[in-house]
């Protein structure tokens, strides 16, 4: 049977090292830094619009940026203090974003606007989530309020909770389950109730047996809840891969998970839903895994959003050697930062700092047509052929090769023995296709 499936699509993924060095590091709350930089663009979609001016006093939970469109999310002050400036700053993704800089007073006075929302039905639930500023915490940062309000709500019956945490090093989601497992279950119950779903599936990679045991115990006897053990092969946490692994359904090209009756939420997002419904405290802090061979004390920390990478690393004992590369996120899909002055954002889940040795880029050599990228691709694409097709600039053939299905997970680059930047070529191919279509 497995062989038959391989004939259609091998989709082996990449056998990345796990390096879950910090899995037993209980989350430490980092003190509030002197100054925070809160970006108005911490999600997919339209950036929020800053609604505070220089000199204004703010408290924890105050809205400082209003949602800038339908697919957007508001941004809240993560600290109490005084707005120092509202600037335009170049973010790691290469785009400029408004950043509200706040000088903190260290008191962390909570805003009087922070109170548990009144939720009675789906509409008020979605509104509450939208007000909370929640975005997909797994890394993508899609506004959760929009996700929980699909057009075909009556066809959606399953909540898939993404607890795969397939990126090496990162243990933030693992800690969420170990420390706040009850929040995850209660949050899932709320989503299940207000969206009128029948099933909740929690997908966890097999390399986290304790989390699997804990979630099984917490969901024992709950109707509709199952915990699915996923193979420890990257990228189990990719939305479409996760849906196929847990439900057997294939999300059609160009469609959303709701098309196959599923909504996928990151495990930390689900836990946040419960905490927000109880307290009304919007998304102002984030749990991060700080690791890498250039960090003195690797650990999991909870920081206020807008804390700079520099401050976070300093809290973790500083740099143990001259940093050669700083990654916001995991080593497979994270973004390399040009400076450690960048602030932590909602969707960040790790800061990895590596020394010069690990920062060195491998030397590229000619493609030997081994086909490993094809076998690894979780989407069943053919990167080697896509690269060749891009080199002859054939947009129609790129379309026939389903190039746009690539989600840039990086498996192809990882397995390439010639050390070619295959994933980057895939991005270029998608760009080329998009431009050619215009």
């Amino acid at each position: 049977m497995a062989v038959l499936k391989k004939l259609v699509r091998s989709a082996e993924g990449a056998h990345v090292p796990h390096n879950k060095n910090t899995e037993n590091c209980e989350t430490v709350k980092m003190p509030v830094p002197k100054r925070v930089f809160v970006s108005m663009s911490q999600h997919i979609g339209a950036p929020a619009k800053a609604c505070v001016k220089k000199g204004v006093e703010v408290k924890v939970g105050d809205v400082i940026g209003t949602a800038g469109g339908f697919i957007s999310a508001p941004v809240h002050s993560s600290v109490s203090g005084k707005v120092f400036s509202v600037d335009e700053v170049m973010m790691p993704n290469g785009r400029k974003a408004q950043v509200v800089v706040i000088d903190t007073d260290g008191l962390q006075t909570v805003s009087e606007n922070v109170k548990a929302p009144e939720v009675t039905d789906h509409a008020s639930f979605v509104q509450a989530i939208k007000d909370s500023g929640l975005v997909g915490l797994g890394g993508a940062g899609f506004p959760t309020g929009v996700k929980l309000d699909p057009q075909n709500l009556d066809e959606v019956d399953t909540l898939v909770i993404n607890a795969a945490e397939c990126e090496p090093y990162i243990t933030a989601d693992y800690r969420e389950m170990m420390e706040c497992g009850e929040d995850v279950v209660e949050g899932a119950k709320l989503v299940k109730e207000y969206l009128n779903l029948s099933k909740v599936i929690i997908g966890i990679e097999a390399n986290k047996p304790q989390a699997i045991a804990k979630m099984k115990e917490l969901t024992n006897g709950l109707e509709g809840f199952t915990v699915a053990t996923l193979p420890s092969v990257y990228p189990q946490g990719a939305e479409k891969v996760l849906i196929e692994q847990t439900t057997g359904k294939e999300v059609p090209q160009g469609a959303l998970p709701a098309a196959v009756g599923c909504i996928v939420m990151n495990v930390a997002s689900v836990g946040f839903v419960n905490r927000y419904m109880k307290t009304g405290m919007p998304l102002v802090t984030k749990r991060l895994t700080v690791d890498g061979d250039a960090v003195a004390n690797p650990q999991n920390v909870e920081v206020v959003i807008g804390t700079t990478v520099k401050d976070v690393v300093e809290f973790c004992g500083g740099y143990s050697q001259e940093p050669g590369k700083i990654i916001s996120g995991g080593p497979m899909m994270g973004t390399a930062l040009a400076t450690d002055e960048m602030p932590v954002m909602k969707q960040n889940n790790a800061i990895l700092v590596f020394g010069a040795e690990k920062a060195k880029l491998p030397e590229e050599s000619p493609c030997i047509r081994c086909g490993r990228c094809i076998n690894a691709c979780p989407m069943g694409l053919s990167p080697v052929e896509i690269a060749l097709t891009l080199s002859v600039k054939d947009a129609d053939e790129l379309k026939a090769l389903f190039t746009d299905l690539c989600m840039e997970c990086g498996s192809c680059s990882f397995v390439c023995p010639a050390k070619r930047p295959v994933a980057q070529t895939m991005r270029e191919a998608k760009d080329f296709m998009r431009k050619a279509a215009k």
Binding site: P331, R369, G380, L381, E385, E408, F414, P417
Partner: protein
């Protein structure tokens, strides 16, 4: 602070082109050892000359054309070993140098170097040497100067060779093909190291066995005698000249098996492996196009690429 800013992913696997090619060389060592046992140290000299010639030609070609020197990727060593493995032990050394020239300069470098050759360089070298120096390429002489025939030639002449002899390697033949046992040890190594998957060798050998049965010839002789195992394990699995997907590899393996048996059974030659591999190498681009995977979420009926 000088930070490297590069696009994700930021880590890669340990495997490199060089480590893969080195593993292929290691996998060929048991067969080389068997050749030394059955044919004497001459086998080692022939292999050394062939490897030196291949590496040398690659170095000289790239030096002359001011290209980056790629001899460090071990692929020329693989080609050199394979060419020697396809020669009888008594072959004059200069002939193997001619083979190395065709393999490296004509088939590999003139088409763009590693990854761009349309056919397996060692296969083309074997065919050219076989056609150009037929007498020398078919002189099977043991170290004690007794002439012998290959198992396939014996079988064609009416005698069934001893199975055990064929398995161990006490028969005539080219260097690398005589010992099925040694080749299988190398095969196991390649599988364990995940350098190749079993798809091509297994479908190739299975097809030969089934075809032999159907045509009423001894499948054991067809599988163990001649260059089938050497070709199936080490030459048909060359990345550049074999299909990408499992589906494609199955079709390729079956094609190889059918052509091999047809040549052996109905052709004028006793051996058909090298021609089968060359012919199937040429259709690999078409197999690749016809045997693509169905991507996750792609419509059930994949629209034909133009």
């Amino acid at each position: 602070m000088k930070l490297t800013v590069s696009s994700a992913p930021h880590i890669t696997s340990k495997d490199t082109t060089a480590s893969i090619m080195r593993d292929v060389c290691i996998a060929m060592l048991p067969a080389l050892a068997a050749a030394c046992v059955f044919f004497g140290l001459n086998s080692l000299i022939l292999t050394a000359v062939s490897v030196a010639a291949c590496v040398g030609f690659e170095f000289l070609y790239e030096k002359m054309l001011k290209q980056p020197i790629t001899i460090g990727d071990w692929s020329a060593v693989v080609t050199g070993m394979l060419i020697a493995f396809n020669c009888p032990p008594s072959l004059p050394l200069w002939v193997v140098v001619v083979g190395a020239f065709f393999a490296i300069v004509i088939v590999k470098q003139l088409f763009g170097g590693i990854g761009f050759n349309f056919a397996n360089p060692a296969i083309v070298a074997r065919i050219i040497m076989g056609l150009g120096y037929t007498g020398m390429m078919t002189a099977w002489v043991f170290p004690d100067a007794t002439a012998t025939a290959t198992p396939l030639a014996m079988y064609r002449a009416g005698t069934t060779p001893n199975y055990i002899d064929m398995f161990i390697g006490r028969t005539g033949g080219v260097l690398g093909e005589v010992s099925a046992a040694a080749l299988l040890v190398g095969f196991a190594y390649l599988l364990v190291k995940k350098v190749i998957t079993p798809t091509i060798p297994v479908t190739y050998v299975a097809t030969v066995a089934v075809m032999a049965l159907v045509l009423g010839v001894d499948p054991v002789v067809y599988v163990l005698g001649g260059g089938l195992l050497l070709g199936a394990i080490f030459m048909a699995t060359d990345y550049t000249t074999s299909p990408y997907t499992m589906k494609g590899q199955i079709i390729y393996g079956i094609g190889l098996g059918v052509i091999t048996v047809l040549i052996r059974r109905f052709g004028s030659m006793t051996e058909g492996v090298s021609y089968a591999i060359l012919l199937m190498n040429l259709v690999v681009p078409y197999i690749n196009k016809a045997c693509r995977q169905k991507p996750l979420g792609a419509p059930a009926k994949v629209k034909e690429a133009k």
